[in-house]
């Protein structure tokens, strides 16, 4: 049965819920202030506390319904900062010291670190085996620990895709060479040919990693040791790095890519009509639809990231998980129920965020449309970041390397050697 959930949730939110929400939902609490039981929950600012009023109302409705069914409970909400790396590292430190939240959103790239630290409570009892089996394989692997315990629920995923203005680039480039040729032609016409993240932040590494993987590279081995600077991985790394370097040197990409540290820059360029293509996230499709006029939006299309050949493709898949960090079984249960009733499924549909199991695409009509067919197709070539504790430092080193190489301050080989050496040294200290 197909549910028109996003519509109905929005309708509830805009009609009946506000009065109840005023009583039950505040900036730091869901539920009655004097409820006998409390669970702390650290969440990002994109749902219950979203600046998008419609989004907030929809989640307030979901949370209100959830907490009304559990009058003995109060959820003490803690809003996470948007500096993901620092926020997650601090939370890990707090969890290790026994001062962490009972339940929390954990970035999928950081999940391995939390697993390695042993601070996540198993949630096996709260999901059926079929539900776990229906998760995409890369998701299932990430949320399961060495003993087979389910230690988090990855509630939405995302992927990197290529956006293009079809008025400038009518055909989707299938290979790196095709993309560069199209971008050079666009830059000769006075536009910025291709934009991508290149500054010191996680988006730079993650958006580029699809190219590295498509070239056949691996960042770490099975033990989590960095291997990207040796053997065939080194060749793949230099090949993918050379692709980005060539984009800048040929003028296909402007030098300012080394300053881009925010996906909003791409939306702004699209709105200003100054860019022909950009490497962005699937979630930007909806943002562009809301930003551009209907006529201008019709010119923009999305396609899979090009590869070194048309057959060799890969794209980074991210997203967020929710995990319990408490030893109290009742809090673990409440955390799991919250995930099931609010975020996984209903929350995906409300936000248009890609679910992590195939069945949910069939359940909600929010995922109908040609763009979702493309996303589902591209997810076949999806790769998550490695579940290794060393990943944040590898990412940091790649960001440094990318800035050095793209700004002409270092040669690719020397920059790669320095990054690899630093990553190995960091790995030894972990």
């Amino acid at each position: 049965m197909t549910l028109r959930l996003s519509t109905s949730v929005a309708a509830i939110a805009l009609t009946a819920a506000p009065l109840a929400a005023q009583d039950l939902i505040t900036r730091d609490r869901v539920g009655l202030p004097d409820a006998p039981n409390a669970m702390s929950f650290r969440l990002t600012a994109y749902d219950l506390y979203s600046s998008d009023l419609e989004m907030r109302a929809a989640f307030e409705a979901l949370f209100t319904e959830f907490i009304e069914a559990r009058p003995d409970w109060r959820i003490d909400t803690q809003l996470a900062t948007d500096n993901i790396g620092e926020e997650q590292a601090r939370m890990l430190e707090q969890a290790r010291a026994g001062r962490g939240p009972d339940c929390a959103m954990i970035d999928s790239s950081q999940l391995a670190t939390f697993k390695a630290a042993g601070v996540l409570a198993p949630m096996n009892d709260h999901w059926a085996e079929e539900e776990i089996a229906d998760l995409f394989p890369f998701v299932r692997e990430a949320v399961t620990d060495a003993d087979g315990n389910l230690v988090a629920w990855w509630w939405f995923t995302d992927l990197r895709v290529l956006y293009r203005d079809t008025a400038v680039v009518p055909e989707a480039p299938q290979t790196w060479d095709e993309l560069e040729a199209a971008a050079v032609a666009a830059s000769e016409a006075g536009l910025e040919g291709i934009l991508f993240n290149g500054a010191r932040w996680e988006g730079t590494t993650f958006d580029w990693l699809g190219n590295f993987w498509a070239a056949g590279g691996e960042l770490v081995d099975e033990d989590g040791r960095p291997v990207f600077g040796e053997g065939e991985n080194r060749e793949a790394f230099l090949e993918a790095l050379g692709y980005y370097r060539s984009l800048v040197e040929s003028g296909a990409a402007p030098g300012r890519v080394t300053t881009i540290n925010n996906y909003d820059e791409f939306n702004a360029a699209a709105a200003a009509g100054t860019a022909a293509m950009f490497v962005g996230g699937n979630w930007q499709y909806g943002q562009l639809a809301g930003t551009l006029s209907e006529e201008r939006f019709a010119d923009w299309a999305v396609s899979e990231l090009p590869g070194p050949t048309a057959e060799d493709r890969a794209t980074g898949t991210g997203g967020w998980t929710i995990a319990a960090l408490s030893d109290d079984p009742e809090k673990v249960q409440l955390c799991a129920e919250m995930v099931k009733e609010i975020y996984s499924g209903a929350g995906n549909a409300v936000q248009g965020l890609l679910p992590t199991s195939a069945a949910q695409y069939e359940t909600y009509d929010a995922f109908e449309g040609p763009q979702f067919d493309l996303f589902a197709e591209a997810l076949v070539n999806g790769r998550p970041r490695p579940g290794a504790a060393i990943y944040p430092e590898i990412s940091n080193q790649i960001q440094i390397l990318m800035g050095d190489v793209l700004s002409g301050a270092a040669e690719p080989e020397a920059a790669l050697d320095a990054a690899f050496e630093a990553s190995l040294a960091a790995y030894e200290r972990l």
Binding site: E86, R256, T259, P392, A409, A425, L430
Partner: protein
């Protein structure tokens, strides 16, 4: 009461001890350990310091720190002095708007570092629609690679820091300038001294103490600056603007290296402490 000062100092000693001494003592302990954010210390020794000295990036980071600090301190002194003298002159002549000018300069000071970084990132944007570059293009000047060129990125970081910190220097210099005996200037005018001569032979010597004290204070302040750089460039491109404080942040929160990060933090503490001792010595000399 005077015979028992310790009793009266106890509350503040407790507060300072809790807020400063205990965390610093813990940093000292961690600096001799192999602790990471993922696990507690398993052994103690000098490995953190050894790794710090062996790291090939430390030289670049220290060079960036020196360049950023020296350029910022010079910029802060000059800009602060200029604004202070401007306001003092305006006051003396009874010009309207001097209070508004002081308020505007002070407004930059209360802006949080992260917000300061974001403001300047927007202004320095190299997009075709970037604020400063668009203005330059309007008047026929070439666009500038404010943040993508490694050398210009450091200049941009210094400009952003100077813009924010000028108010502090201005306050120090303005107070010192107001304290100069006006009879010195009256006598100089009677002797026919021109404005530049009055500045060189009266103002600067009279402000010497304020300049010394301000130098030490803004140096400490600049050494600890990392939030505005984090928001402006993140330390990039590459490591072009990664200063010591930002490097420590990265070491702990990306590398999870609590031991190594603590060792580096102590280096920063040692530099700041040395400068503080200089500041105390200068204050003592001023009183004698």
């Amino acid at each position: 009461m005077a015979a028992r000062p310790l009793l009266w100092l106890l509350p503040i000693a407790l507060v300072l001890g809790t807020v400063y001494v205990i965390p610093v003592a813990d940093v000292v302990r961690l600096s001799f350990s192999d602790a990471t954010l993922l696990r507690p210390a398993e052994s103690y020794g000098l490995s953190g310091y050894a790794a710090m000295l062996e790291a090939r990036d430390l030289g670049v980071v220290l060079r960036n720190t020196v360049v950023f600090t020296v350029a910022s301190v010079v910029g802060l002194q000059l800009a602060g002095l200029l604004v202070a003298l401007l306001v003092a002159r305006g006051d003396r002549r009874g010009l309207p708007g001097m209070t508004a000018l002081r308020t505007i300069v002070l407004a930059a000071w209360v802006v949080p570092g992260v917000a300061n970084g974001i403001i300047w990132q927007t202004l320095f944007s190299e997009a075709p629609f970037g604020a400063i570059n668009s203005t330059l293009a309007l008047i026929g000047l070439p666009r500038v690679a404010w943040l993508s060129d490694p050398e210009m990125a450091m200049v941009s970081a210094v400009l952003a820091n100077v813009w924010q910190g000028t108010a502090f220097s201005m306050v120090v210099f303005y107070a010192a300038r107001r304290a100069i005996d006006p009879r010195l200037y009256e006598a100089a005018e009677v002797d026919g001294a021109r404005p530049f001569a009055r500045f060189v032979y009266i103002t600067l010597p009279q402000l010497k103490g304020a300049i010394l004290v301000n130098t030490v204070l803004v140096t400490i302040q600049t050494l600890n600056t990392f939030d505005s750089i984090l928001a402006l460039t993140g330390g990039g491109p590459g490591r072009a603007t990664e200063v010591l404080s930002l490097h420590i942040f990265n070491r702990v929160f990306y590398n999870y290296d609590l031991g190594g990060g603590s060792a580096l933090a102590l280096v920063l503490v040692a530099i700041s402490t040395a400068l503080t001792l200089v500041y105390i010595a200068l204050l003592g000399r001023g009183r004698t």
